[in-house]
Symmetry: C4
């Protein structure tokens, strides 16, 4: 079932090491079929050179495995929560990519300091707090998903306008309209985490992008008046 | 029309990811035929592995598309202004390359701190200010070009002697006698942005190159008394 | 003798340059057959493209060469001491990998600041002191091994829970259940050395991972209740 | 003439981009035949993919071209001076490699902070001052060579024990027993420039290597009592 989705998710997983976002198997990508309410996700801890599209595991939004002989990524329950609570998203990526992880370890939101950021993220990318002991005991992966959702709710953020989050001390989750675009958002996030860090080192008074430039760049690529690309 | 120019511009665009200046399609190169007053530029948002020389879009100096079925790069109007106002240049590159973008986000001119810089840029590379709301409303891309031109005029800079600029919060534009040399100037700029940043971190008192060394290195490679290469 | 072990050790040595941990021949990997009490190690200073599995040198726990026409790595006696004193380990790696060497040159323990660290190292990775003149005179490589062992004893560390050490001014040794996993631990160590350094630069108040998160991530992958991978 | 030397020098030049030391043609390698008193050097500004061994230019110690239809590297006179004044060396490399150039731009000697350094350089690598206007007028490249020689004389350094120098605001020259080993020394220098810079950032009190460890590592690989490698 869902052969095309499995293939897309498999290809998107292969992109993670190709684009330098992960080493070994330290990441996972999933993609969802909204009609059936099922998503495909990478199996846990399988080497990329021994993986095929048919190894992708199919799960439902309650976090149950529906098809597949391998264990899904241990982060699967986080994906399930995000798909359930963010109904507009179609793909999710988790990595420990170097620069995004640095900001996660620093425990800081990623401010919009350049147009690379503004082309993809309509404002700062939030860093969610550490889980409490109680939350960890209740279920680390499900509660990580719940924390992401509540962080977006409290800050009144649209998950499609800010398709990324950092987990303090851990790393980034990104998402998008499908698995492939979620990977692209992971690449953008890592890039702006690098440029922002150094821009501040170079000039401690380096400012965030003026709102007018943020608006211009984001809306040039997104929404009804976008005029980037071929569409 | 302009088949050879299209091929040169296509090849120069392919160099951007090969030399690590861009990810995905975050950049664009153009080249001009001065006799006809027409330039070829990359189409907007097309994957490199699906692009061919025939996809390059031909435009005139007023920023009109003259030939091509695809939309040109959204930055095309900036290229048009630069070709019109800088009559000595033959190729233009725009990227969000990492180190040049860091200086752009820091909002700082790039000083000449080493001979790598002096071999290509005869003095500091300017960082142009943010556009105003009024300028953005009037036309973001055209006004970006106008800002570059007025920055060079105010500072009395020769665009061939300083073939690069940073746009605050955005990234670099570079140019040269043709598309290929504009790419090389983009590589040099990114490299010196990296070395200058770290040289200052290593030694906060690190100085700019003495004028005599700047003169020697620049004039060893440029002008009537140059003696570098096979000429 | 020990043909399969030689092959595994050879392959693990090839991984060092492939994963960017070393340049030229600046590293060495060994692996042990516990039943026979013999280990295979890379020969000293042989180019990787001229090396084959049969060039691996077989040594015993007293540091004697048992088989092989080439000199073993000059660090071989350090490996022998570690295999003798840490009976649970099956493979050892020594590199001068960039980021771990930076921490070694800084003379600092590597704190657990993120889950990439916690997935592999159950607490901070110690940095052992410089050898004294007396120790160097007695035998630099054997005493380096003894110093690692005494560092773990004094700090009451389990070498399988913290499968790595830094030698002040030198670089890392890592180990694992076999040669391949020792290489993976070297990759993880280098990665966390990079992210920790920058996380502190980005936020000088960046904290170590809370104990509850360290526990969760380490125990998710290690021990009886682990649920990562396909087991 | 000197076909084998030309081939060695050609191969050593190819190593510069392969090992990430240069971009485009920003570097040059030479090697000498001491019996004939002639050296082979890369031609100036020729693309690597259009170069062959037969393009290497043969020069004498007075800096005259003896054979070859192409112009030699513009830095050729510096090589000639070094071969004349440092009779024990057999190969020379000049690059603008990133990390060594950073130290050159900072105008600082490179201290021995780790064993990677001590394995190759028996003490700190000196940074030579800027040339004066008078020296530049007299002949930039010859005087660069003279400055390197006088820097080593003033500091009483043995060019084989410290086979490298930085030129302030410019970049490194390295040398060795032949062209290939001069390239290796350029790789080591760039690596230690990176690790030293970050080690100091991580710990501003990071010390130089104790003399006893410097002695041990250097003499383990060099001189009569060396025991590294297969010899």
């Amino acid at each position: 079932m869902l052969e095309q989705l499995k293939e897309e998710v498999f290809q998107a997983n292969l992109e993670l090491p190709e684009r330098g976002l992960i080493k070994y198997t330290w990441g996972n990508v999933s993609g969802i079929d909204r009609e059936q309410g099922l998503f495909a996700i990478k199996p846990s801890g399988v080497d990329y050179d021994q993986m095929s599209a048919s190894d992708m595991v199919i799960c439902d939004l309650a976090g149950n495995v529906v098809e597949g002989s391998l264990n899904p990524s241990s982060d699967m329950p986080t994906h399930a929560v995000l798909y359930k609570q963010f109904p507009t998203i179609g793909g999710i990526v988790h990595t420990h990519s170097t620069w995004a992880t640095i900001w996660a370890q620093a425990g800081l939101d990623v401010p919009a300091m350049g147009t690379t950021h503004a082309d993809t993220f309509y404002g700062k990318v939030p860093c969610a707090r550490f889980l409490t002991q109680e939350e960890i005991d209740r279920g680390y992966e499900v509660e990580s998903g719940n924390l992401i959702v509540s962080t977006f709710a409290e800050r009144q953020l649209d998950p499609l306008a800010i398709p990324a989050v950092l987990l303090h001390g851990h790393g980034p989750f990104t998402w998008g309209k499908d698995a492939k675009s979620a990977v692209m958002n992971a690449v953008v996030l890592d890039e702006v985490c690098q440029t922002n860090l150094y821009a501040r080192q170079l000039n401690q008074f380096a400012e965030e992008l003026p709102q007018r430039v943020l608006d211009k760049h984001y809306l040039r690529k997104h929404g009804d008046n976008a005029y980037y690309g071929q569409k």
